[in-house]
Protein backbone atom coordinates (compact mmCIF):
# COMPACT_ATOMS: atom_id res chain seq x y z
CA UNK A 1 0.00 0.00 0.00
CA UNK A 2 1.51 3.26 -1.08
CA UNK A 3 1.65 5.76 1.75
CA UNK A 4 0.91 9.33 0.78
CA UNK A 5 3.80 11.62 1.58
CA UNK A 6 2.83 15.12 2.59
CA UNK A 7 4.04 17.68 0.08
CA UNK A 8 4.61 21.38 0.52
CA UNK A 9 1.75 23.03 2.49
CA UNK A 10 -0.71 24.73 0.19
CA UNK A 11 -3.38 27.26 1.12
CA UNK A 12 -5.87 24.41 1.55
CA UNK A 13 -3.44 22.69 3.90
CA UNK A 14 -3.16 25.82 5.95
CA UNK A 15 -6.94 26.17 6.22
CA UNK A 16 -7.13 22.50 7.20
CA UNK A 17 -4.54 23.13 9.83
CA UNK A 18 -6.47 26.05 11.31
CA UNK A 19 -9.76 24.16 11.24
CA UNK A 20 -8.78 20.72 12.35
CA UNK A 21 -5.73 21.19 14.51
CA UNK A 22 -7.16 23.65 16.96
CA UNK A 23 -7.95 23.12 20.61
CA UNK A 24 -11.75 22.78 20.25
CA UNK A 25 -11.69 20.35 17.32
CA UNK A 26 -9.15 18.16 19.05
CA UNK A 27 -11.21 18.15 22.22
CA UNK A 28 -14.13 16.69 20.25
CA UNK A 29 -12.51 14.40 17.72
CA UNK A 30 -9.02 13.78 19.19
CA UNK A 31 -7.61 13.17 15.72
CA UNK A 32 -7.01 15.65 12.97
CA UNK A 33 -8.94 15.65 9.75
CA UNK A 34 -8.71 12.13 8.29
CA UNK A 35 -6.50 12.97 5.34
CA UNK A 36 -3.51 10.89 6.33
CA UNK A 37 -3.49 7.12 6.85
CA UNK A 38 -2.69 7.67 10.52
CA UNK A 39 -5.65 9.96 11.09
CA UNK A 40 -7.89 7.79 8.93
CA UNK A 41 -7.21 4.81 11.14
CA UNK A 42 -7.50 6.86 14.31
CA UNK A 43 -10.83 8.36 13.30
CA UNK A 44 -12.32 4.90 12.83
CA UNK A 45 -10.80 3.57 16.03
CA UNK A 46 -11.77 6.50 18.26
CA UNK A 47 -15.23 7.39 16.97
CA UNK A 48 -18.12 5.55 18.60
CA UNK A 49 -20.14 5.33 15.40
CA UNK A 50 -17.28 4.46 13.08
CA UNK A 51 -15.74 1.90 15.42
CA UNK A 52 -18.43 -0.56 14.32
CA UNK A 53 -15.90 -0.98 11.52
CA UNK A 54 -12.39 -2.32 11.77
CA UNK A 55 -9.72 0.19 10.73
CA UNK A 56 -8.67 -1.91 7.78
CA UNK A 57 -10.72 -4.20 5.60
CA UNK A 58 -9.92 -6.71 2.91
CA UNK A 59 -9.87 -5.30 -0.60
CA UNK A 60 -12.65 -7.54 -1.92
CA UNK A 61 -15.06 -6.42 0.79
CA UNK A 62 -15.31 -2.85 -0.38
CA UNK A 63 -16.39 -4.02 -3.82
CA UNK A 64 -20.05 -3.10 -4.06
CA UNK A 65 -20.95 -6.40 -5.72
CA UNK A 66 -19.72 -8.40 -2.74
CA UNK A 67 -22.47 -7.29 -0.36
CA UNK A 68 -24.48 -4.68 -2.28
CA UNK A 69 -24.52 -2.95 1.14
CA UNK A 70 -27.69 -4.89 1.90
CA UNK A 71 -27.12 -5.39 5.61
CA UNK A 72 -25.93 -1.83 6.06
CA UNK A 73 -28.91 -0.51 4.13
CA UNK A 74 -31.28 -2.55 6.28
CA UNK A 75 -29.74 -0.88 9.33
CA UNK A 76 -29.96 2.46 7.56
CA UNK A 77 -33.68 1.87 6.95
CA UNK A 78 -34.05 1.12 10.67
CA UNK A 79 -32.43 4.46 11.49
CA UNK A 80 -34.56 6.31 8.94
CA UNK A 81 -37.68 4.63 10.28
CA UNK A 82 -36.73 5.71 13.79
CA UNK A 83 -36.35 9.33 12.70
CA UNK A 84 -39.54 9.52 10.65
CA UNK A 85 -41.34 7.44 13.27
CA UNK A 86 -40.45 9.85 16.06
CA UNK A 87 -41.68 12.76 13.94
CA UNK A 88 -44.97 10.93 13.33
CA UNK A 89 -45.31 10.18 17.05
CA UNK A 90 -45.55 13.91 17.79
CA UNK A 91 -48.90 13.99 16.01
CA UNK A 92 -50.35 10.53 16.51
CA UNK A 93 -52.48 9.32 19.41
CA UNK A 94 -53.17 5.58 19.48
CA UNK A 95 -56.83 5.70 20.35
CA UNK A 96 -59.67 4.45 18.21
CA UNK A 97 -61.30 7.87 18.33
CA UNK A 98 -58.22 9.76 17.21
CA UNK A 99 -55.88 7.48 15.27
CA UNK A 100 -57.52 7.80 11.86
CA UNK A 101 -58.17 11.52 12.25
CA UNK A 102 -54.57 12.04 13.34
CA UNK A 103 -53.31 10.34 10.18
CA UNK A 104 -55.59 12.58 8.12
CA UNK A 105 -54.32 15.53 10.08
CA UNK A 106 -50.70 14.50 9.49
CA UNK A 107 -51.44 14.26 5.78
CA UNK A 108 -53.24 17.55 5.41
CA UNK A 109 -52.28 19.97 8.19
CA UNK A 110 -48.79 19.03 9.27
CA UNK A 111 -45.86 20.54 7.37
CA UNK A 112 -44.20 17.71 5.48
CA UNK A 113 -46.51 15.33 7.34
CA UNK A 114 -47.58 13.45 4.23
CA UNK A 115 -43.94 13.19 3.18
CA UNK A 116 -42.91 11.80 6.58
CA UNK A 117 -45.72 9.25 6.52
CA UNK A 118 -44.86 8.22 2.96
CA UNK A 119 -41.18 7.87 3.78
CA UNK A 120 -41.99 5.85 6.89
CA UNK A 121 -44.16 3.46 4.94
CA UNK A 122 -41.90 3.00 1.92
CA UNK A 123 -38.86 2.57 4.13
CA UNK A 124 -40.73 -0.10 6.10
CA UNK A 125 -41.43 -2.02 2.91
CA UNK A 126 -37.85 -1.45 1.78
CA UNK A 127 -36.54 -2.81 5.09
CA UNK A 128 -38.51 -6.05 4.75
CA UNK A 129 -37.23 -6.52 1.19
CA UNK A 130 -33.65 -5.56 2.08
CA UNK A 131 -33.45 -7.85 5.08
CA UNK A 132 -34.63 -10.73 2.90
CA UNK A 133 -32.14 -9.86 0.15
CA UNK A 134 -29.41 -9.58 2.80
CA UNK A 135 -30.25 -13.10 3.94
CA UNK A 136 -29.95 -14.29 0.35
CA UNK A 137 -26.59 -12.54 -0.02
CA UNK A 138 -25.28 -14.16 3.16
CA UNK A 139 -26.49 -17.55 2.02
CA UNK A 140 -25.12 -17.46 -1.51
CA UNK A 141 -21.74 -16.13 -0.37
CA UNK A 142 -21.59 -18.92 2.20
CA UNK A 143 -21.11 -16.36 4.95
CA UNK A 144 -23.00 -18.40 7.57
CA UNK A 145 -20.23 -20.98 7.75
CA UNK A 146 -18.01 -21.41 10.82
CA UNK A 147 -17.32 -19.39 12.90
CA UNK A 148 -20.40 -17.36 11.96
CA UNK A 149 -23.06 -20.00 12.68
CA UNK A 150 -24.73 -18.22 15.53
CA UNK A 151 -24.76 -14.86 13.78
CA UNK A 152 -26.91 -16.46 11.08
CA UNK A 153 -29.33 -17.49 13.83
CA UNK A 154 -29.32 -13.92 15.18
CA UNK A 155 -30.05 -12.84 11.61
CA UNK A 156 -33.06 -15.14 11.39
CA UNK A 157 -34.33 -13.63 14.68
CA UNK A 158 -33.84 -10.14 13.23
CA UNK A 159 -35.79 -11.20 10.13
CA UNK A 160 -38.71 -12.21 12.33
CA UNK A 161 -38.41 -8.98 14.35
CA UNK A 162 -38.51 -6.98 11.12
CA UNK A 163 -41.73 -8.73 10.12
CA UNK A 164 -43.20 -8.07 13.56
CA UNK A 165 -42.17 -4.41 13.48
CA UNK A 166 -43.80 -3.98 10.11
CA UNK A 167 -46.86 -5.96 11.11
CA UNK A 168 -47.48 -3.98 14.32
CA UNK A 169 -47.09 -0.72 12.41
CA UNK A 170 -49.63 -1.85 9.84
CA UNK A 171 -52.55 -1.42 12.25
CA UNK A 172 -51.76 2.10 13.39
CA UNK A 173 -53.44 4.15 10.61
CA UNK A 174 -56.69 2.49 11.74
CA UNK A 175 -58.20 2.39 8.27
CA UNK A 176 -59.96 -0.50 6.57
CA UNK A 177 -56.70 -1.79 5.11
CA UNK A 178 -55.07 -1.85 8.53
CA UNK A 179 -58.03 -3.30 10.37
CA UNK A 180 -58.66 -6.21 8.02
CA UNK A 181 -55.03 -6.99 7.42
CA UNK A 182 -54.47 -7.33 11.16
CA UNK A 183 -57.69 -9.30 11.49
CA UNK A 184 -56.46 -11.75 8.87
CA UNK A 185 -52.91 -11.77 10.28
CA UNK A 186 -54.04 -12.39 13.84
CA UNK A 187 -56.38 -15.13 12.68
CA UNK A 188 -53.35 -16.86 11.21
CA UNK A 189 -51.66 -16.69 14.64
CA UNK A 190 -54.91 -17.72 16.33
CA UNK A 191 -55.05 -20.90 14.32
CA UNK A 192 -52.07 -22.32 16.21
CA UNK A 193 -52.86 -25.60 17.90
CA UNK A 194 -53.64 -25.39 21.63
CA UNK A 195 -52.07 -21.98 22.30
CA UNK A 196 -53.51 -20.18 19.28
CA UNK A 197 -56.71 -18.63 20.64
CA UNK A 198 -54.95 -17.54 23.83
CA UNK A 199 -52.07 -16.04 21.84
CA UNK A 200 -54.50 -14.14 19.67
CA UNK A 201 -56.33 -12.90 22.76
CA UNK A 202 -53.08 -11.63 24.30
CA UNK A 203 -52.00 -10.10 21.02
CA UNK A 204 -55.25 -8.22 20.43
CA UNK A 205 -56.22 -7.62 24.04
CA UNK A 206 -59.62 -9.08 23.23
CA UNK A 207 -61.45 -11.35 20.85
CA UNK A 208 -61.50 -8.82 18.03
CA UNK A 209 -59.25 -6.06 16.78
CA UNK A 210 -60.24 -3.07 18.92
CA UNK A 211 -58.97 -0.23 21.10
CA UNK A 212 -56.85 -2.55 23.23
CA UNK A 213 -55.21 -3.99 20.12
CA UNK A 214 -54.33 -0.51 18.91
CA UNK A 215 -52.51 0.47 22.11
CA UNK A 216 -50.76 -2.92 22.28
CA UNK A 217 -49.57 -2.74 18.70
CA UNK A 218 -48.50 0.88 19.21
CA UNK A 219 -46.45 0.10 22.31
CA UNK A 220 -44.86 -2.91 20.65
CA UNK A 221 -44.22 -0.90 17.51
CA UNK A 222 -42.65 2.21 18.99
CA UNK A 223 -40.72 0.87 21.96
CA UNK A 224 -40.69 -2.86 22.72
CA UNK A 225 -39.81 -4.27 19.31
CA UNK A 226 -37.36 -1.50 18.31
CA UNK A 227 -35.48 -2.01 21.59
CA UNK A 228 -35.41 -5.75 21.07
CA UNK A 229 -34.29 -5.29 17.48
CA UNK A 230 -31.59 -2.84 18.59
CA UNK A 231 -30.25 -5.36 21.11
CA UNK A 232 -30.11 -8.12 18.51
CA UNK A 233 -28.57 -5.74 15.99
CA UNK A 234 -25.86 -4.85 18.49
CA UNK A 235 -25.14 -8.55 18.97
CA UNK A 236 -25.25 -9.08 15.20
CA UNK A 237 -22.77 -6.29 14.43
CA UNK A 238 -20.48 -7.06 17.35
CA UNK A 239 -20.23 -10.69 16.34
CA UNK A 240 -19.35 -9.72 12.77
CA UNK A 241 -16.29 -7.96 14.20
CA UNK A 242 -15.47 -10.76 16.64
CA UNK A 243 -15.69 -13.37 13.93
CA UNK A 244 -13.16 -11.54 11.82
CA UNK A 245 -15.30 -9.28 9.67
CA UNK A 246 -16.86 -10.48 6.47
CA UNK A 247 -16.31 -14.06 5.41
CA UNK A 248 -13.36 -14.53 3.10
CA UNK A 249 -12.44 -17.46 0.87
CA UNK A 250 -9.99 -19.81 2.54
Amino acid sequence: MAVEQPGKPTLADKIYDKMFHNYVWKSIFRTGYPNTPRNQMLVVATNLFLHLHPTRIHRTHVKITHTYCLGGLTFFMFLGLTVTGILLMFYYVPSVERAYLDIQNIQTNVQFGQLMRNMHRWMAHAMVILVFLHMMRVFYTGAYKPPREFNWVVGVILLVLTFLLSFTGYLLPWDQLAFWAITVGSEIAGAAPVLGPKTRFWMLGGFEVGPESLIRFYTLHVIALPLLAAIFMAVHFWRIRRDGGLARPL
Binding site: H58, P146, Q176, W180, A191, A247
Partner: protein, 298 residues
Amino acid sequence: MATAVVARPAARPQARARDEEVLVWPDLVFVEFISALLFTFTIFILSVILNAPLLDQANPDVTQNPAKAPWYLLNLQELLLHMEAATAGVIVPTVWLIILGAFPYFDRDNDGQGAWFATEGSVKLTVVSAIVGVVGTWLLILWNQGTIASVLNSWFGISGGDTFRFLENSRAIQGNLPWPEWSESIPYLPFELRILDEGFTGFGATTFQNVDLPSFIVEIAIPIIMMVGLPSLLIYVLWRIGWVFTRRDALIVLFSGFVAVNAMLVLAGTGFRGEDQDLVFPWNLSVDEGIPGYQPPD
Protein backbone atom coordinates in the same frame (compact mmCIF):
# COMPACT_ATOMS: atom_id res chain seq x y z
CA MET B 1 3.04 -36.19 32.66
CA ALA B 2 -0.54 -35.24 32.23
CA THR B 3 -1.14 -33.25 29.16
CA ALA B 4 -4.13 -31.08 28.80
CA VAL B 5 -5.66 -31.82 25.49
CA VAL B 6 -7.07 -28.69 24.02
CA ALA B 7 -9.25 -29.20 21.00
CA ARG B 8 -8.22 -27.11 18.07
CA PRO B 9 -10.99 -24.71 17.25
CA ALA B 10 -12.94 -25.83 14.24
CA ALA B 11 -12.45 -22.51 12.60
CA ARG B 12 -9.99 -19.84 13.50
CA PRO B 13 -10.01 -16.28 12.28
CA GLN B 14 -8.01 -16.20 9.11
CA ALA B 15 -4.53 -14.85 9.08
CA ARG B 16 -4.51 -11.24 8.03
CA ALA B 17 -2.93 -10.28 4.78
CA ARG B 18 -2.06 -6.64 5.39
CA ASP B 19 -1.10 -5.92 1.81
CA GLU B 20 -4.56 -7.05 0.71
CA GLU B 21 -6.27 -4.60 3.02
CA VAL B 22 -7.51 -1.09 2.48
CA LEU B 23 -8.40 1.56 5.03
CA VAL B 24 -12.03 1.67 6.09
CA TRP B 25 -11.87 5.44 5.96
CA PRO B 26 -12.11 6.43 3.14
CA ASP B 27 -12.67 3.27 1.09
CA LEU B 28 -15.60 1.68 2.94
CA VAL B 29 -17.09 4.75 4.61
CA PHE B 30 -17.32 6.39 1.21
CA VAL B 31 -19.24 3.45 -0.28
CA GLU B 32 -21.58 3.40 2.71
CA PHE B 33 -22.14 7.12 2.50
CA ILE B 34 -22.95 7.01 -1.21
CA SER B 35 -25.36 4.07 -0.85
CA ALA B 36 -27.08 5.74 2.10
CA LEU B 37 -27.37 8.92 0.06
CA LEU B 38 -28.74 7.06 -2.96
CA PHE B 39 -31.31 5.30 -0.84
CA THR B 40 -32.38 8.46 0.95
CA PHE B 41 -32.79 10.09 -2.43
CA THR B 42 -34.75 7.17 -3.89
CA ILE B 43 -37.07 6.89 -0.89
CA PHE B 44 -37.53 10.66 -0.92
CA ILE B 45 -38.48 10.75 -4.61
CA LEU B 46 -40.76 7.74 -4.17
CA SER B 47 -42.44 9.46 -1.23
CA VAL B 48 -42.96 12.63 -3.22
CA ILE B 49 -44.66 10.88 -6.13
CA LEU B 50 -46.44 8.06 -4.30
CA ASN B 51 -48.64 8.50 -1.26
CA ALA B 52 -48.99 5.85 1.41
CA PRO B 53 -52.46 4.32 1.15
CA LEU B 54 -55.18 5.44 3.52
CA LEU B 55 -58.60 3.91 3.02
CA ASP B 56 -61.80 4.64 4.91
CA GLN B 57 -61.74 4.57 8.67
CA ALA B 58 -61.69 1.07 10.15
CA ASN B 59 -65.14 -0.42 10.34
CA PRO B 60 -65.60 -3.89 11.82
CA ASP B 61 -69.04 -4.11 10.17
CA VAL B 62 -67.78 -3.68 6.62
CA THR B 63 -65.65 -6.65 5.67
CA GLN B 64 -63.05 -6.08 3.01
CA ASN B 65 -63.33 -8.49 0.14
CA PRO B 66 -60.76 -9.80 -0.26
CA ALA B 67 -59.26 -9.09 3.14
CA LYS B 68 -55.53 -9.47 2.81
CA ALA B 69 -52.72 -9.53 5.34
CA PRO B 70 -49.65 -7.36 4.68
CA TRP B 71 -47.92 -8.54 1.51
CA TYR B 72 -45.07 -10.36 3.26
CA LEU B 73 -47.64 -12.59 5.01
CA LEU B 74 -49.57 -13.35 1.84
CA ASN B 75 -47.43 -16.45 1.35
CA LEU B 76 -49.04 -17.85 4.48
CA GLN B 77 -52.46 -16.61 3.46
CA GLU B 78 -52.04 -18.39 0.13
CA LEU B 79 -51.12 -21.59 1.96
CA LEU B 80 -54.24 -21.20 4.12
CA LEU B 81 -56.37 -21.52 1.00
CA HIS B 82 -54.96 -24.95 0.38
CA MET B 83 -54.63 -26.54 3.77
CA GLU B 84 -55.56 -26.67 7.42
CA ALA B 85 -55.15 -23.32 9.17
CA ALA B 86 -52.91 -24.28 12.09
CA THR B 87 -50.54 -26.21 9.86
CA ALA B 88 -50.33 -23.54 7.17
CA GLY B 89 -50.29 -20.47 9.36
CA VAL B 90 -48.21 -21.52 12.33
CA ILE B 91 -46.58 -24.94 12.14
CA VAL B 92 -45.13 -24.67 8.63
CA PRO B 93 -43.56 -21.21 9.10
CA THR B 94 -42.28 -22.08 12.59
CA VAL B 95 -40.70 -25.32 11.45
CA TRP B 96 -39.25 -23.59 8.41
CA LEU B 97 -37.70 -20.79 10.51
CA ILE B 98 -36.11 -23.42 12.78
CA ILE B 99 -34.75 -25.27 9.73
CA LEU B 100 -33.48 -21.98 8.32
CA GLY B 101 -31.74 -21.13 11.59
CA ALA B 102 -30.20 -24.59 11.68
CA PHE B 103 -28.54 -24.24 8.26
CA PRO B 104 -25.05 -23.52 9.64
CA TYR B 105 -25.25 -26.46 12.01
CA PHE B 106 -26.04 -28.78 9.13
CA ASP B 107 -23.47 -27.48 6.68
CA ARG B 108 -20.33 -27.07 8.78
CA ASP B 109 -17.41 -27.14 6.42
CA ASN B 110 -15.67 -24.02 5.28
CA ASP B 111 -15.83 -24.54 1.55
CA GLY B 112 -17.23 -21.84 -0.63
CA GLN B 113 -17.43 -19.00 1.84
CA GLY B 114 -16.76 -15.38 1.20
CA ALA B 115 -17.55 -15.31 -2.51
CA TRP B 116 -20.71 -15.56 -4.56
CA PHE B 117 -21.58 -19.09 -5.69
CA ALA B 118 -18.10 -20.27 -4.82
CA THR B 119 -18.75 -24.00 -4.82
CA GLU B 120 -18.73 -25.91 -8.06
CA GLY B 121 -22.05 -26.05 -9.86
CA SER B 122 -23.82 -23.81 -7.38
CA VAL B 123 -25.22 -21.47 -10.03
CA LYS B 124 -26.60 -24.47 -11.90
CA LEU B 125 -28.21 -25.82 -8.74
CA THR B 126 -29.67 -22.41 -7.86
CA VAL B 127 -31.20 -21.89 -11.29
CA VAL B 128 -32.64 -25.41 -11.53
CA SER B 129 -34.12 -25.31 -8.01
CA ALA B 130 -35.58 -21.87 -8.58
CA ILE B 131 -37.22 -22.97 -11.83
CA VAL B 132 -38.59 -26.11 -10.21
CA GLY B 133 -39.87 -23.97 -7.32
CA VAL B 134 -41.60 -21.47 -9.60
CA VAL B 135 -43.15 -24.03 -11.93
CA GLY B 136 -44.05 -26.43 -9.14
CA THR B 137 -45.75 -23.78 -7.03
CA TRP B 138 -47.89 -22.56 -9.91
CA LEU B 139 -48.79 -26.10 -10.98
CA LEU B 140 -49.89 -26.94 -7.46
CA ILE B 141 -51.89 -23.72 -7.09
CA LEU B 142 -53.56 -24.20 -10.47
CA TRP B 143 -54.28 -27.86 -9.78
CA ASN B 144 -55.79 -27.22 -6.38
CA GLN B 145 -57.83 -24.37 -7.79
CA GLY B 146 -59.28 -26.79 -10.38
CA THR B 147 -57.89 -24.61 -13.16
CA ILE B 148 -55.86 -27.41 -14.70
CA ALA B 149 -58.87 -29.71 -14.82
CA SER B 150 -61.09 -27.06 -16.37
CA VAL B 151 -58.47 -26.11 -18.97
CA LEU B 152 -57.95 -29.76 -19.90
CA ASN B 153 -61.68 -30.14 -20.22
CA SER B 154 -62.65 -26.98 -22.08
CA TRP B 155 -59.58 -26.63 -24.32
CA PHE B 156 -58.66 -30.21 -25.05
CA GLY B 157 -61.93 -31.99 -24.29
CA ILE B 158 -60.17 -34.24 -21.79
CA SER B 159 -62.37 -35.25 -18.93
CA GLY B 160 -62.12 -38.06 -16.47
CA GLY B 161 -65.86 -38.04 -15.97
CA ASP B 162 -67.25 -38.75 -12.55
CA THR B 163 -64.81 -41.60 -11.96
CA PHE B 164 -61.76 -39.38 -11.88
CA ARG B 165 -63.40 -36.23 -10.63
CA PHE B 166 -61.57 -36.68 -7.32
CA LEU B 167 -58.32 -35.80 -9.11
CA GLU B 168 -59.52 -32.30 -10.03
CA ASN B 169 -58.17 -30.80 -6.85
CA SER B 170 -57.30 -31.88 -3.36
CA ARG B 171 -60.71 -31.08 -1.90
CA ALA B 172 -62.32 -33.31 -4.50
CA ILE B 173 -60.46 -36.22 -2.92
CA GLN B 174 -62.50 -35.49 0.18
CA GLY B 175 -65.76 -34.80 -1.59
CA ASN B 176 -65.84 -37.09 -4.60
CA LEU B 177 -64.55 -40.35 -3.18
CA PRO B 178 -66.93 -42.76 -1.44
CA TRP B 179 -65.43 -42.44 2.04
CA PRO B 180 -67.17 -44.74 4.54
CA GLU B 181 -68.88 -42.92 7.34
CA TRP B 182 -66.60 -44.29 10.07
CA SER B 183 -63.54 -42.82 8.35
CA GLU B 184 -64.69 -39.34 9.26
CA SER B 185 -64.25 -40.00 12.95
CA ILE B 186 -61.52 -42.47 13.75
CA PRO B 187 -60.55 -42.50 17.42
CA TYR B 188 -56.83 -42.47 18.14
CA LEU B 189 -57.11 -41.84 21.87
CA PRO B 190 -59.22 -43.91 24.26
CA PHE B 191 -60.41 -40.75 26.01
CA GLU B 192 -61.01 -37.17 25.02
CA LEU B 193 -57.93 -35.09 25.78
CA ARG B 194 -58.86 -31.52 26.55
CA ILE B 195 -56.16 -28.87 26.73
CA LEU B 196 -56.58 -25.33 28.08
CA ASP B 197 -60.19 -25.88 29.03
CA GLU B 198 -60.89 -22.50 30.53
CA GLY B 199 -64.59 -22.93 30.52
CA PHE B 200 -65.69 -19.52 29.39
CA THR B 201 -66.94 -18.54 25.99
CA GLY B 202 -64.48 -17.74 23.29
CA PHE B 203 -61.83 -20.28 24.17
CA GLY B 204 -63.03 -23.70 23.26
CA ALA B 205 -60.69 -26.27 24.69
CA THR B 206 -58.44 -27.94 22.17
CA THR B 207 -59.60 -31.51 22.11
CA PHE B 208 -57.91 -34.62 20.82
CA GLN B 209 -59.66 -37.92 20.29
CA ASN B 210 -60.89 -38.49 16.77
CA VAL B 211 -59.43 -37.81 13.37
CA ASP B 212 -61.46 -37.03 10.30
CA LEU B 213 -59.41 -39.11 7.88
CA PRO B 214 -60.49 -37.65 4.50
CA SER B 215 -60.11 -34.16 5.86
CA PHE B 216 -56.74 -35.06 7.43
CA ILE B 217 -55.50 -36.47 4.14
CA VAL B 218 -56.59 -33.44 2.14
CA GLU B 219 -55.85 -30.66 4.60
CA ILE B 220 -52.67 -31.87 6.23
CA ALA B 221 -51.19 -35.04 4.77
CA ILE B 222 -51.12 -34.10 1.09
CA PRO B 223 -49.75 -30.56 1.60
CA ILE B 224 -47.10 -31.77 4.06
CA ILE B 225 -46.11 -34.62 1.78
CA MET B 226 -45.76 -32.06 -1.04
CA MET B 227 -43.74 -29.65 1.09
CA VAL B 228 -41.39 -32.25 2.50
CA GLY B 229 -41.47 -34.72 -0.34
CA LEU B 230 -40.96 -32.52 -3.39
CA PRO B 231 -37.79 -30.79 -2.12
CA SER B 232 -36.48 -34.14 -0.90
CA LEU B 233 -37.23 -35.70 -4.26
CA LEU B 234 -35.49 -32.85 -6.05
CA ILE B 235 -32.40 -33.18 -3.87
CA TYR B 236 -32.45 -36.95 -4.33
CA VAL B 237 -32.72 -36.71 -8.11
CA LEU B 238 -29.95 -34.11 -8.30
CA TRP B 239 -27.84 -36.35 -6.10
CA ARG B 240 -28.44 -39.35 -8.32
CA ILE B 241 -27.47 -37.44 -11.46
CA GLY B 242 -24.35 -36.24 -9.66
CA TRP B 243 -25.11 -32.55 -9.23
CA VAL B 244 -25.49 -32.56 -5.47
CA PHE B 245 -22.37 -33.73 -3.65
CA THR B 246 -22.12 -31.89 -0.39
CA ARG B 247 -24.42 -30.63 2.31
CA ARG B 248 -23.84 -27.16 0.94
CA ASP B 249 -25.21 -28.31 -2.43
CA ALA B 250 -28.31 -29.73 -0.74
CA LEU B 251 -28.83 -26.48 1.14
CA ILE B 252 -28.50 -24.48 -2.07
CA VAL B 253 -31.29 -26.56 -3.58
CA LEU B 254 -33.45 -26.21 -0.48
CA PHE B 255 -32.85 -22.49 -0.02
CA SER B 256 -33.22 -21.54 -3.69
CA GLY B 257 -36.38 -23.59 -3.90
CA PHE B 258 -37.69 -21.84 -0.78
CA VAL B 259 -36.92 -18.39 -2.15
CA ALA B 260 -38.69 -19.22 -5.41
CA VAL B 261 -41.73 -20.82 -3.76
CA ASN B 262 -42.00 -18.01 -1.23
CA ALA B 263 -41.80 -15.39 -3.96
CA MET B 264 -44.47 -17.18 -6.00
CA LEU B 265 -46.79 -17.52 -3.01
CA VAL B 266 -46.43 -13.82 -2.20
CA LEU B 267 -46.96 -12.97 -5.86
CA ALA B 268 -50.02 -15.20 -6.16
CA GLY B 269 -51.49 -13.76 -2.97
CA THR B 270 -50.77 -10.16 -3.96
CA GLY B 271 -51.38 -10.06 -7.67
CA PHE B 272 -53.65 -12.97 -8.48
CA ARG B 273 -56.20 -13.23 -5.68
CA GLY B 274 -59.35 -11.23 -6.22
CA GLU B 275 -62.77 -11.19 -4.66
CA ASP B 276 -63.47 -14.24 -2.49
CA GLN B 277 -59.79 -15.14 -2.96
CA ASP B 278 -60.55 -16.38 -6.47
CA LEU B 279 -57.66 -16.74 -8.86
CA VAL B 280 -57.76 -13.91 -11.39
CA PHE B 281 -55.27 -12.22 -13.65
CA PRO B 282 -53.70 -9.08 -12.20
CA TRP B 283 -55.35 -6.92 -14.87
CA ASN B 284 -58.75 -8.19 -13.77
CA LEU B 285 -57.98 -7.31 -10.20
CA SER B 286 -59.49 -4.05 -9.11
CA VAL B 287 -56.63 -1.99 -7.79
CA ASP B 288 -57.32 0.98 -5.63
CA GLU B 289 -54.91 3.20 -3.71
CA GLY B 290 -52.23 0.93 -5.13
CA ILE B 291 -53.66 -2.06 -3.28
CA PRO B 292 -54.43 -5.02 -5.49
CA GLY B 293 -57.77 -6.56 -4.70
CA TYR B 294 -59.22 -3.66 -2.79
CA GLN B 295 -62.86 -3.08 -3.61
CA PRO B 296 -64.07 0.39 -2.75
CA PRO B 297 -67.38 0.03 -0.91
CA ASP B 298 -70.40 0.77 -3.10
